[in-house]
C-alpha cells in the first residue's frame, strides 16, 4: 500500500507491504543503511531512530503506521567532514570498537540528552518530582536500551558525559 514517510525532512512515497517495518523500509527500500539490524527483536537498540523526536526501535514498528510522522536517522546528523558534537565526542573518546551499534547509540544518546533536558526521570532517579541530575550513573541507566557487545560502555558514557558538560547540563 502507498505510504509517505518523512525521513530527515524529505518526503518519500513508497508502495509497501503493510508488514514491512520502518527498519526494513529504511534499509531495503530507501538504501539508508546507517540504521543497523542487530537483533530484530527490539532488544539491542542498534536500529534506534527518532520518531517525532523520540527514540524508538525501528525494527518494532510498521512503516505504514508512520504516514506523516517525522523519522530522523543517523544520516541526518553530521557528515564525516563535519561531525556534530556528539559524533565528534564518540570519535575522540573511542566510543566504539566494531562500530555496528554506534549509529543506534548516537541516535539514542541524542534523544536521551533531550529527555534529560525535558526533565524525564529514569528508574534510578531519586525522585519522580524534581528534575533529575544527569550523572554518569544516570547516563548509563538511560543508555541501557542499547547493547554494545564489544563493551565500549566506559567510552560511550564518557563521550556522552562530555557533550552533557558542553551543553551545561551539570551533574551534581
Amino acid at each position: 500500500m502507498d505510504v509517505t514517510l518523512s525521513i530527515n525532512g524529505t518526503d518519500h512515497r513508497l508502495d509497501l507491504d503493510p508488514r514491512v517495518t520502518v527498519l526494513d523500509a529504511l534499509r531495503h527500500h530507501l538504501g539508508l543503511t546507517g540504521t543497523k539490524k542487530g537483533c530484530d527483536h527490539g532488544q539491542c537498540g542498534a536500529c534506534t531512530v527518532l520518531l517525532n523526536g523520540r527514540r524508538v526501535n525501528s525494527c518494532l514498528t510498521l512503516a505504514v503506521m508512520h504516514d506523516g510522522d517525522e523519522i530522523t536517522t543517523i544520516e541526518s546528523l553530521g557528515s564525516p567532514d563535519a561531525l556534530n558534537p556528539l559524533q565528534d565526542a564518540f570519535v575522540r573518546n573511542d566510543g566504539f570498537q566494531c562500530g555496528y551499534c554506534t549509529p543506534g547509540q548516537i541516535m539514542s544518546a541524542t534523544a536521551m540528552l533531550q529527555e534529560a533536558e525535558d526533565g524525564w526521570p529514569s528508574y534510578i532517579s531519586r525522585s519522580l518530582e524534581t528534575d533529575p541530575d544527569l550523572t554518569d550513573e544516570e547516563i548509563a541507566e538511560r543508555m541501557s536500551g542499547n547493547l554494545c557487545r564489544c563493551s565500549a560502555y566506559p567510552r560511550i558514557r564518557q563521550a556522552i558525559a562530555e557533550v552533557r558538560d558542553a551543553r551545561g547540563m551539570a551533574a551534581e
Binding site: 543497523k36 559524533q87 555496528y100 547493547l147 557487545r149 563493551s151
Partner: protein, 780 residues
C-alpha cells in the same frame, strides 16, 4: 612517529555517521536472491525423507536444494573431519541445516523454509557432558594427556589435599552484526564473495570446493565485521558456500544472513566444560601437585574443538609454577551446536580451573587468596638483553635461581614472567590491602549485603598452536602522488587492527597516518592468510607490513643516497621528509623522482613467527612465541537474600608490551574484561531435555548492558617492552583481557564465603540464582 599514538579507529568518522558498510549494507544488483536454511527439529536421528513440495511452491521461491542436489563438495568443515553443509542421512542437532531455500526476498526465503517436512527417525540424543561420558561419545580415540613430574605422588605425599569439580557454562558470541555473506557470479564461472568472516582464505577454499573450481577462481573480500570474537572464524562458511552455490546455479547475486534467533540456534558457541581437580599443598598454600580432568563439550562436529581443548590444557597452569602437574582432556561429541572459537579459545576455561583451585586452597588454609597466588607464581625473569635492561653485577648481582629454567607442564621455558612486579604495582594502585580489610569490617556489620574482592592474574600464550598458521603476508603500494595503499591478510572486527597496522606503515615511511589508505582484506591481494584469531592480528600482519614497507623504503634510500653520493644506511625517513646527508627532501618529491627514475614502489611482505615448535600429541615444545600478562582486582557486593549483585570497582594493570596504540589497547582491555565477566555472571545458555536451545534471543540471553559495567573502572598499561622481537616490541591484546573477568567471578566467591564457613564452590555462570544457592550452602 605514528606508532604508540592513541589515534582513533581508522573508520571512526564513518562509524559515527552510519556510512561504514557491513556486508548486509552493500547495495545488491537488481535481481539479487536471498537464501535461508530449513532446519532440523530433532537433536539426533536418521533423516528418512524430506518433503519439500510446499517449499518449492511457496511464493517467491526460485529453487530449493537438499544435500543430494549440491553440485560438488557438501562440506564446510574447518578441520580434517568432515562437516556437511546440509544433512545427509543423519541429523545431529536441533538447528542443523537440512535444505537451502533460494527466493526473491529474505522474508520469502525464511517463510518458505518453515514449510519443509522432514521425516526423522529419532536416535538417542547425547546432550550433556554426562551423557557423552556414559556413551563414550568423543572426538579422538581417547583423552589427551599433558604432564610434568608425578602429580599423583605429589598429592599423596602433600601435607594437605583437596578435590572438587567446577561447571563452566558456554557463551554466545552475540556479535551485533549477525553472520552474513553475498556471492556475486563473474564471467567464466568465477566468484566474488563478500563475507563477514575472520578467515577469508578458508571461505575461498570452501567456496572453491563447493563450486568445483580452484581457489584462483574465487576472490573473497572483507572490509569489516560488526564483531567477531571467534564466532566468525569458521561459522560463516555455511553462508558463503550457500551463496556461491546459489549464484552458480542461478547466475544471480545471492545474499544470506541469519536472523538473530537462527544465528543463535545454528551457530556454535564457547565450549562448556566440567573440570575435576585434585590438589596437594602445604599449610601456607604452596601447591605441590595438581591433577585436572577437563571434560569439554564439543557439540556435533569437530570444528575447532581439538585446538580449543588443547589450549585449555595449555592454560591449566596460568601463572603458577606447580612442580607436578597432570592434565587430562576429554573432547566430547554431543548432539548440540558445534562449539567453536570464542575469544581465549579454551584458555579461559583452563585458566578458570586453576584459579578455582587457588581460591579453594586459600580458603582451606585460611589465607588471603591473593597471597596464596603470589606464593605460587613463577619467578619474574630479569631482562637479559644487553643495554636495554637492568645492570647485573656488584651488590645487585641476581641470585643463581633467577637463571635456572622454569618450565610449564608442557615443557616450555617461562622466560618473560613479570607478574610478581605487576601484581605488586596493582596492589598499590588499587589499594588492595586496605580495601580487603575494610571489606572484612563492613561484612562483619552487614547481614544483608556482603562484599567480596579478588585479585587474579593472567598469563596467556601468544601464537597459533598449529604452528604453520603463524605466518602472514602484506602488499604495499606507494603511488606517484606519494599516497600509500596498504593491504594485509588480517581482518578488522573492531579490534583496531587496521589502524595499528596503518600506524606501523606510516612510521616506516616517516609520514602521517592520513597518507595511508587501509583497504579491505582481499584474497586476491594477499593469499594463504591465516584467520584473524589467536590475538595474532597485529603481531603477524604488522610485521608483514613492516617488511613490505621496508623493502620500498630501502629502494628509496638507495635511490636518494646514490643521487647525493651518501651511504644508503644513513638515509632517514622522518616528518614527511627524507633526510640524506645535510639535505631534507619532501617525501612526495622523493617518491615522484623515484617513479620517474623507474624505481619499483610496490612490495609484498612476509613474516613467519620465529622460535615456535610444538608437538600437540606429546604435549611438549614451545607452542607460544611469548606470553602476555595482566592482573585485575574486582570488588563486588551481593544481596544475600536474592543473590543479586553488582561490580563496584575494577582495577586492571595489563601488559601490551610497547603499545602500538594505547587508546585502542585500553578499549580492548575494558571490553575484554566486561565480556569475560559477562561470561561468568549473567550469560547463561539453557538447553531443554530435547536438546533445543531455549536461550536463543536477547530477551533470555543476557549480555552486559551499559549499566552493568563496574561503577569505578580503572585500566592501565604496564610499561614494559616485549622481550621478544615483535612489531615495535608490542604484545597481542585481543584475547588476554577477557580472562581478567575471572576476578569478578572470584570476588563473588569471596563475598559468598563471608556468609559462612563452607567453601562456596560457585558454578559458572554465577547467576543470582547460583549465588543465592551458594550462600545457602556455606550457611548450612
Amino acid at each position: 612517529m605514528s606508532v604508540a599514538k592513541p589515534l582513533p579507529h581508522d573508520a571512526a568518522p564513518l562509524h559515527v555517521t552510519g556510512q561504514a558498510r557491513y556486508v548486509d549494507d552493500i547495495p545488491l544488483p537488481k535481481g539479487a536472491l536471498h537464501l535461508a536454511f530449513g532446519m532440523s527439529e530433532e537433536a539426533h536421528g536418521r533423516l528418512l525423507a524430506l518433503d519439500l513440495e510446499a517449499v518449492k511452491t511457496a511464493p517467491g521461491v526460485v529453487a530449493v536444494l537438499a544435500a543430494g542436489d549440491l553440485p560438488f563438495a557438501n562440506d564446510v568443515s574447518p578441520s580434517p573431519s568432515p562437516e556437511p553443509l546440509l544433512a545427509t542421512d543423519t541429523v545431529e542437532y536441533i538447528g542443523q541445516p537440512l535444505f537451502l531455500v533460494i527466493a526473491e526476498s529474505h522474508l520469502a526465503a525464511r517463510r518458505a523454509a518453515r514449510l519443509g517436512l522432514a521425516e526423522i527417525a529419532p536416535l538417542p540424543a547425547i546432550l550433556t557432558i554426562d551423557d557423552a561420558i556414559a556413551a563414550d561419545s568423543r572426538f579422538e580415540d581417547g583423552p589427551r594427556l599433558y604432564q610434568k613430574g608425578d602429580a599423583a605422588r605429589a598429592i599423596a605425599e602433600a601435607e594437605r589435599r583437596l578435590e572438587g569439580s567446577l561447571e563452566i557454562g558456554g557463551q554466545e558470541h552475540f556479535y551485533l552484526e549477525g553472520q552474513a555473506a553475498v556471492a556475486l557470479p563473474q564471467e567464466g564461472g568465477d566468484m566474488v564473495v563478500h563475507s563477514s568472516t575472520q578467515h577469508p582464505t578458508e571461505i575461498q577454499h570452501k567456496v572453491a570446493e563447493a563450486i568445483g573450481r580452484h581457489m584462483n577462481s574465487v576472490r573473497v573480500e572483507v572490509r569489516r565485521m560488526g564483531g567477531g570474537f571467534g564466532g566468525k572464524e569458521s561459522q560463516g562458511n555455511a553462508l558463503a558456500v550457500s551463496c556461491a552455490i546459489g549464484a552458480r546455479l542461478t547466475g544471480l547475486p545471492c545474499s544470506m544472513r541469519y536472523d538473530r534467533d537462527d544465528d543463535m540456534t545454528i551457530t556454535g558457541k564457547r565450549h562448556d566444560f566440567r573440570i575435576d581437580y585434585r590438589v596437594g599443598f602445604d599449610g601456607k598454600g604452596r601447591i605441590a601437585g595438581v591433577e585436572f580432568v577437563q571434560f569439554c563439550r564439543c557439540g556435533w562436529s569437530m570444528d575447532l574443538s581439538l585446538p580449543v581443548a588443547d589450549r585449555a590444557m595449555l592454560h591449566a597452569d596460568n601463572a603458577y609454577d606447580i612442580p607436578h602437574m597432570r592434565v587430562e582432556s576429554h573432547r566430547l561429541k554431543t548432539n548440540t551446536q558445534s562449539a567453536t572459537a570464542f575469544r581465549g579459545f579454551g584458555g579461559p576455561q583452563g585458566m578458570l580451573g586453576i584459579e578455582r583451585v587457588l581460591d579453594h586452597v586459600a580458603h582451606s588454609v585460611g589465607r588471603d587468596p591473593a597471597e596464596v597466588r603470589t606464593l605460587n607464581f613463577y619467578r619474574d625473569v630479569a631482562v637479559r638483553s644487553a643495554g636495554s635492561g637492568k645492570r647485573f653485577g656488584g651488590a645487585h648481582s641476581p641470585i643463581r635461581a633467577e637463571f635456572e629454567t622454569q618450565t610449564t607442564h608442557y615443557g616450555m621455558p617461562v622466560e618473560d614472567f613479570i607478574l610478581n612486579g605487576m601484581v605488586e604495582r596493582l596492589r598499590e594502585t588499587s589499594d588492595y590491602s586496605s580495601r580487603k580489610a575494610a571489606i572484612s569490617k563492613w561484612n562483619a556489620s552487614n547481614a544483608l549485603l556482603k562484599k567480596g574482592i579478588s585479585l587474579t592474574p593472567v598469563k596467556f600464550g601468544i601464537s597459533f598452536t598449529l604452528t604453520h598458521l603463524n605466518q602472514a603476508g602484506a602488499l604495499v603500494h606507494v603511488y606517484q602522488d606519494s599516497s600509500i595503499h596498504l593491504n594485509h591478510g588480517g581482518t578488522e572486527m573492531g579490534q583496531g587492527l587496521f589502524q595499528k597496522v596503518a600506524q606501523v606503515a606510516a612510521s616506516r615511511f616517516g609520514v602521517g597516518p592520513e597518507r595511508v589508505k587501509i583497504t579491505a582484506t582481499d584474497t586476491g591481494k594477499v593469499p594463504n592468510t591465516s584467520a584473524t584469531a589467536a590475538s595474532s592480528g597485529s603481531d603477524l600482519n604488522g610485521m608483514a607490513v613492516q617488511v613490505a614497507c621496508d623493502a620500498i623504503r630501502d629502494r628509496l634510500a638507495v635511490f636518494v643516497a646514490e643521487r647525493a653520493q651518501a651511504d644508503p644506511g644513513s638515509v632517514r625517513f622522518e616528518d614527511n621528509e627524507v633526510h640524506v646527508g645535510s639535505e631534507r627532501i619532501p617525501f612526495e618529491k622523493v617518491v615522484l623522482d623515484a617513479y620517474q627514475a623507474r624505481v619499483s614502489l610496490s612490495s609484498t611482505g612476509f613474516y613467519a613467527t620465529p622460535k615456535v615448535q610444538w608437538d600437540r600429541i606429546k604435549g611438549q615444545g614451545r607452542p607460544f612465541f611469548y606470553f602476555a600478562y595482566g592482573a585485575a582486582v574486582s570488588e563486588v557486593v551481593i544481596d544475600t537474600l536474592t543473590g543479586e549483585y553488582r561490580i563496584l570497582r575494577t582495577d586492571i594493570l595489563h601488559d601490551c608490551g610497547t603499545s602500538l596504540n594505547p587508546a585502542i589497547d585500553i578499549g580492548q582491555i575494558e571490553g575484554g574484561y566486561v565480556q569475560g565477566a559477562g561470561w561468568l555472571t549473567t550469560e547463561e545458555l539453557v538447553w531443554d531435555d530435547k536438546g533445543r536451545l531455549r536461550t536463543h534471543a536477547p530477551s533470555t540471553y543476557k549480555i552486559p548492558a551499559c549499566s552493568d559495567r563496574p561503577e569505578v573502572f580503572n585500566a592501565a598499561l604496564w610499561d614494559g617492552a616485549n622481550r621478544e622481537e615483535t612489531v615495535y616490541r608490542s604484545k597481542a591484546v585481543g584475547e588476554p583481557p577477557l580472562m581478567l573477568g575471572i576476578s569478578a567471578f572470584l570476588a563473588l566467591s569471596d563475598a559468598v564465603a563471608s556468609c559462612g564457613s563452607g567453601y562456596p564452590a560457585l558454578r559458572a555462570p554465577a547467576t543470582p540464582e547460583a549465588v543465592l544457592a551458594a550462600v545457602r550452602r556455606v550457611q548450612a
